[in-house]
Structure formats: structure tokens, C-alpha cells
């Protein structure tokens, strides 16, 4: 039995050939457009062609700081951070139920249940919150019929609350799955040992389990944060009247064909996201989480 199957004997070359199609897609569809955007963000707008000309300038980055654009950045980042925090607080117990408290069959079922909604329409799921949270939605109806409120609670919908709730519901799998992945690598004997030594559940959870799953927790937090930074439909469907997000801002800027400004916003976001992933990978060895897949 060879250590790496077909690759044995001629390591490197077949692996590269097999990786080629996906790398072509990654570079061609991902890297090249993003690199060009970064370069073009430093060119000038050309009013004659409504396009850009190769005159290097930082003008779009200066404009980025004006007209309350930096506030949109902060708003988006803080809503994303809040979403990631709430998701993580929910994901740790939920992943613990899967990784620690369920027999394998139920664990499988739960993983499936947490994954399925991801493949259904995010748009429809965000939209569905309107029915639940609206003035005549199920929650307001319940509050009123229970006598807990006399008039519909307004802040439930078209508010930051609705946006965060919609994003948490949509992106929870991103927080749960990394923790579940880490749980699979925990030696059960460690946990049994702590119990043999008399640790109660909470002692065991906080001093043994939590430190062990920390890489998964941080990875999940980051994943949710990154996805929430880039999304726009929750804000568009559930946010208040003046609510904006980075993606909405890009769309608005593109409506007036201000290419350099749109490109500079995009560049800042992509650079920040890449930095986050690189730092996380460096400190947490994120990639090691995926080392044993498919073997």
C-alpha cells in the first residue's frame, strides 16, 4: 500500500495537473478580477468615456473618507461583529450537543439539519422574516393577544435587530461546522479522564473542552464575520430606511458609474478580508483543520 495512492512514484506532477482546473477557475474568476480592481482603483475617472484612464491617483481613496462612507464601513463591520458574536454564542452549545452529547446517528441528523438551509434561497429566508417580525407578523400578533403589548412593536422589523437576526439565522452553519470539525479531533480519553478525576460537567466543559475547541470557535466567528461583511440582502430586505452596507454602497456608487470609487471600496474590503484570513491561518493553523479530509 502506497502512502498516497496514484501519486506515489511521481509525486507533484499528477497532483498539479489535477489541481489545474480549479486553480484556473480560482485565478481567472477570482484573483485576476480582484487584482485588476485593486489596480484600477488607483486610476482616474474619465468623464469622456465613463470609464477610467491610466492616470495614477489616490483620489478615490480620499473620496472614500468623505460623504459618511467611512461610517458605512463602521456600521457594516459592527453589525457583522455583532452577528458573529451572537452566532458564536449560539454555535458553541449547539456544536457541543453534536460533538459531545449526541450519539452518532443523532449527530449526523443534526449536522444535516444545520446544513440544509444553506442550500435553500437566502433571499427567501430573509424575506420570510418580514412575515414573522412585521406589524401584523406572528410575533406582534402573539405579543398583542397575550397582552404583552398594546400596539405592534415597531423595532422588530426594518431595524438593526431584524438585520442581525436575519444574518444569524442565515450564517449560523458557518459558526457551527468549524467547531464540529474540531470536536472530531478531540481525544475522548481526555474528557473521560477529567470525569474519572471527578470534574463535573461545567468544570470539564470550561477547563478541558472550551480550550480544545477554541480554534474552531475563532474560525467560526471569523467565517460569519467575513460573510456578514459582504452580504447585502439582509440589510436591503430587513434594514431600516437609511440602512446601508458596504455592498449596497458599492451598488450605489456603480449606479453613477464612479468606477474608481467602487473599485477602491472593493479593494479595501478584499484586502481586509485577506489579511483576516491570513492572520487567522497563521495564528490558528486554520488549514490544519482540513488536513485529514478525504483520507
Amino acid at each position: 500500500m502506497t502512502p498516497h495512492g496514484k501519486a506515489a512514484g511521481r509525486p507533484g506532477r499528477p497532483a498539479f495537473l489535477l489541481a489545474l482546473p480549479s486553480l484556473v477557475v480560482f485565478v481567472g474568476v477570482g484573483v485576476i478580477p480582484l487584482a485588476l480592481i485593486a489596480m484600477w482603483s488607483l486610476w482616474s475617472f474619465d468623464p469622456d468615456t465613463y470609464w477610467i484612464k491610466p492616470v495614477w491617483t489616490l483620489a478615490s481613496y480620499v473620496a472614500l473618507l468623505k460623504n459618511g462612507r467611512s461610517i458605512v464601513f463602521l456600521q457594516t463591520a459592527s453589525l457583522a461583529a455583532l452577528t458573529a458574536t451572537v452566532s458564536t454564542l449560539l454555535a458553541v452549545p449547539a456544536a457541543t450537543v453534536i460533538g459531545l452529547l449526541s450519539p452518532p446517528r443523532r449527530a449526523t441528523l443534526l449536522i444535516a439539519l444545520f446544513t440544509i438551509p444553506f442550500f435553500t434561497s437566502g433571499l427567501v429566508r430573509a424575506f420570510a422574516w418580514r412575515l414573522v417580525l412585521g406589524r401584523e407578523g406572528i410575533i406582534n400578533n402573539a405579543l398583542i393577544s397575550l397582552g404583552l403589548a398594546s400596539t405592534p412593536v415597531e423595532w422588530l422589523l426594518f431595524s438593526d435587530f431584524a438585520v442581525v437576526l436575519g444574518m444569524v439565522a442565515a450564517y449560523l452553519p458557518f459558526a457551527i461546522i468549524p467547531i464540529v470539525l474540531v470536536f472530531t479531533r478531540i481525544e475522548h480519553s481526555v474528557i473521560r479522564a477529567s470525569q474519572d478525576l471527578g470534574a463535573g460537567f461545567w468544570r470539564m466543559f470550561f477547563s478541558i473542552v472550551l480550550p480544545l475547541i477554541m480554534p474552531g470557535i475563532v474560525a467560526g466567528f471569523l467565517f460569519v464575520f467575513v460573510v456578514a461583511i459582504g452580504t447585502s440582502m439582509e440589510v436591503q430586505l430587513l434594514g431600516g430606511a437609511g440602512a446601508s452596507s458596504i455592498s449596497i454602497m458599492i451598488n450605489d456608487v456603480m449606479r453613477v458609474v464612479n468606477f474608481p470609487l467602487a473599485f477602491s471600496i472593493a479593494t479595501v474590503v478584499v484586502v481586509l478580508l485577506i489579511a483576516l484570513i491570513v492572520i487567522a491561518n497563521h495564528t490558528l493553523r486554520l488549514s490544519l483543520m482540513f488536513e485529514d479530509l478525504g483520507t
Binding site: L20, A94, I111, F119, I138, F183, G200
Partner: protein
């Protein structure tokens, strides 16, 4: 080998608390969608739940006359199929590459995975500008290219999980018996991975079908379904919106459900010896086809 959860004893309230939170997670993930599905069966103009005896497909029937909806649906179906047709083999190839790699495999996977985190708006914008520059006019094809990058990380992951059913020893046996690499691939690897490849195809199709932000910049004259729906959702709520929202949800859930049903069926035929206490296999079982590998041999470890 154990079938018990790791923690079976007293949990000082930990188990009920954690279970309640897990249930809460499932409720916020499913309840709004289910509520929408039920509300779409209400024949009245006023939205809300009615007794099951009053359920009616009135609004679904009204959908049939919506020509623009069907045009958008057709466009999305074409894009989704094209995305799945491309993403599935590319994902399989990447998964095989991952297995053939040694030190670079983690980095390779992280690179592929990172495509998932590029904001759709930015990817769509960048790609549309580049495509316009090389004079590719927007059409179903440009949308497909955009969706391909989005679907790829998932296709690779599903193929990878499926690949765990194909043990290197099985391939080695085929090779020892004289099969060339291609023969071993076609006669051993592919049949063992059939289920995961079907899953990969369906997931890629669904991801494309439901993608909104990327298509926004990449569509040609014909909107895709999510773009059409987004417009309808923001322009005054006619109850037909709830019907086609309900329809798209039902289709998505049915497709994923079908995949899982296939998993469960296969699982039951490999039940003997396939159950292990190891939670790692719980993840594997998400993918059709991995059950073949979950037998006693893999329990002994294949590395």
C-alpha cells in the same frame, strides 16, 4: 467502539441548556421559512395562517400566468445546470489533487475555500468589468462563470468527503491486479463516488439557483430568478410573491431532502459494521457514498 455519546452521565443542567440552545438555533433557521410556506397556502389577500382545511393553492395557480417569472426561472435553470456541470468534475479533480498532494494540501484547500468568502457584490463587479473588457457580452454564460467560483469550494468539499470512501488500498489493489491509473479511476473510484458526485451536482445547482449578489452584475438582458424575486419583494407585496418564495423553498428543501434520503438508504444497507462512536464519521455521513468506506476496514484506520 461505542455507540454512546461521549458524555452520558450527569451534566448539572448542561445537557438541557445546550439542547435548548441547539433547538433555538434550529427554530430561527427553519421557523420563518416554514411560516412562509404555510402562509402561502392561505387563499385570502390577508397574509397569515389559516386552518389546514382552508389551505389552497390559489396563489400557486396564479403563478402560472407570470411570464416574466418563468423566463427568469428558465434562465436560472440554465445557469444552475451549467454551473453544476462545470463545478462537479472540477471539484472532483481538485479533490483528487488534494489527496495526491502532501505538504501543500492544506494550503490548497484553504485557497479554494477562500473563494467562498469573497463578497458576491465585489466578485460580480470585478468579473463583469473584466468580461466587458475582453468583449464577452453578459448572458447566462457570464453568470455561470461567476457562480462557478461560488459553487467550487462546496463541490470540492463534498467530493473530498466522498473520496474518503475510496481507500488508497482499494486503488492499490486494482493497480496490483493490473489496472492502469485510468482504468482504476473509471472502474473503482468513480463508482464508489457516484453518490457524492450526485450530491455535489445538486448542491452546485442549488447554490447557483439561489445566488443573488453575483448575478446582479453579470446578467444579460434576462434576469435570473433571485433577481426577479428581489425586485418583486421590494415592489409591494402581492401574495403571489409568497407563492413563488414558497415554491422555491419547497424545491430546494426537496432536492436536499432527496440527497439525504439517498444517504439514509445507502446507510441502512451498510449499517452493519458501519456505525462507530467516532464523531468524525458523522460528518462523513453527510455525503452520499461515504458509507461504503465506513466499514470495519476503515475502523481499523487506513493511514
Amino acid at each position: 467502539m461505542t455507540l454512546d455519546p461521549i458524555i452520558t452521565g450527569r451534566t448539572s443542567g448542561g445537557r438541557p441548556l445546550f439542547t435548548a440552545i441547539a433547538a433555538l438555533c434550529l427554530i430561527i433557521m427553519y421557523a420563518p421559512a416554514l411560516y412562509l410556506l404555510l402562509a402561502s397556502l392561505n387563499p385570502g389577500e390577508q397574509l397569515g395562517l389559516v386552518a389546514p382545511s382552508h389551505y389552497s393553492l390559489t396563489w400557486y395557480v396564479a403563478l402560472v400566468d407570470d411570464r416574466r417569472l418563468f423566463a427568469a426561472l428558465e434562465e436560472s435553470a440554465i445557469v444552475g445546470l451549467a454551473t453544476a456541470v462545470l463545478a462537479t468534475p472540477i471539484g472532483l479533480s481538485a479533490a483528487l489533487a488534494y489527496r495526491a498532494m502532501t505538504r501543500t494540501r492544506s494550503l490548497f484547500f484553504l485557497v479554494i475555500l477562500s473563494a467562498m468568502f469573497v463578497p458576491g457584490t465585489i466578485e460580480g463587479l470585478g468579473l463583469s468589468v473584466v468580461l466587458r473588457l475582453v468583449r464577452v457580452s453578459p448572458s447566462w454564460f457570464t453568470v455561470t462563470i461567476g457562480h462557478l467560483l461560488w459553487a467550487l469550494p462546496f463541490a470540492v468539499t463534498v467530493s473530498l468527503i466522498g473520496l474518503s470512501a475510496v481507500k488508497t488500498s482499494t486503488i492499490a489493489a486494482a493497480r496490483d491486479l493490473g489496472a492502469g491509473p485510468l482504468r482504476a479511476f473509471v472502474d473503482v473510484t468513480l463508482p464508489l463516488m457516484r453518490g457524492s458526485l450526485i450530491s455535489s451536482f445538486i448542491f452546485a445547482f442549488l447554490l447557483s439557483l439561489n445566488e443573488h449578489a453575483r448575478a446582479y452584475y453579470l446578467v444579460g438582458r434576462q434576469n435570473t430568478l433571485p433577481l426577479y424575486m428581489f425586485g418583486a419583494m421590494n415592489s409591494g407585496a402581492s401574495p403571489t410573491i409568497y407563492a413563488f418564495s414558497g415554491a422555491i423553498l419547497a424545491v430546494s428543501f426537496a432536492a436536499v431532502g432527496l440527497v439525504l434520503f439517498a444517504v439514509a438508504r445507502r446507510q441502512s444497507s451498510y449499517r452493519l459494521g458501519s456505525l462507530r462512536g467516532d464523531r468524525g464519521k458523522a460528518l462523513d455521513q453527510l455525503s452520499v457514498g461515504s458509507f461504503r468506506g465506513a466499514g470495519p476496514i476503515s475502523a481499523a484506520g487506513n493511514r
